[in-house]
Amino acid sequence: MVHWTAEEKQLIASVWGKVSVEQCGAEALARLLIVYPWTQRFFSSFGNLSSPTAIISNPKVRAHGKKVLTSFGEAIKNLDNLKGTYCKLSELHCDKLHVDPENFRLLGDILVIVLAAHFTKDFTPACQATWQKLVGVVAHALAHKYH
């Protein structure tokens, strides 16, 4: 089980409290598809992903980004039981969606950059460290049921 210090929990809560899940989620997913274009392989049903502009304004991308980050919010409420929280989603990503867990790490890194741009100097090194740890454990939990 992952151990979180009081400071880490504080840093997570204070950032999350100021995040627009809809906006951040949309931006993070759009950037994933733009910066790592091979990730588009999972989204052939999403329509026009032909350019950064198309991706950013694509309503399916925005909706899915919101969905993904909303799920992240669940993780934050259950920091002491991430594997349990993500058990079903892990099975889904393995058995139905066939997503390489490396993609969770890529999205995590992108999310950190999106948060950094949003919070600028308030995104201190300690804050970054905590959030990189969080996205890392979320990625790990999502990969946990893979077989």
């Binding site: 950037r31 733009i34 950064p52 970054q128």
Partner: protein, 142 residues
């Protein structure tokens, strides 16, 4: 992975905007790397890694200068960083995985200090550029 003309233009423009602050960006990136990925400190047992360390600042300046040099010679990064590539292969032997970690921290620094600079397109180009630099620095490892 090849840098397109668009990527090169984005990277050159980005470093032009960063300008003289590159040294600070370098130091900030290192500090974040040591905090976020403590295993990277193992390469600096001889450094004072405390906050505000002059050694970290000095090293950040070197790292930034290398990135600027690569950006200024973006058509031949391997040529521009050839000596650094030799150094990393023969002497420093930093495990290749760590260049990605520093790259991530550099992008975070750009995001925190100049968020408007880091459009999705520039983000993609810078990420590619940093990967290319890492590839060059580890190219002669074996």
């Amino acid at each position: 992975m090849v840098l397109s003309a668009g990527d090169k233009a984005n990277v050159k423009a980005a470093f032009s905007k960063i300008g003289g602050q590159a040294e600070e960006y370098g130091a900030d990136a290192l500090e974040r790397m040591f905090t976020t990925y403590p295993q990277t400190k193992t390469y600096f047992p001889h450094f004072d890694l405390g906050k505000g360390s002059a050694q970290v600042k000095g090293h950040g300046k070197k790292v930034a200068a290398a990135l600027v040099e690569a950006a200024n010679n973006i058509d031949d990064i391997a040529g521009a960083l050839s000596k650094l590539s030799d150094l990393h292969a023969q002497k420093l032997r930093v495990d290749p995985v760590n260049f990605k970690l520093l790259g991530q921290c550099f992008l975070v620094v750009v995001a925190t200090r100049n968020p408007s600079l880091l459009t999705p397109e520039v983000h993609a180009s810078l990420d590619k550029f940093l990967c290319a630099v890492g590839t060059v620095l580890t190219a002669k490892y074996r």
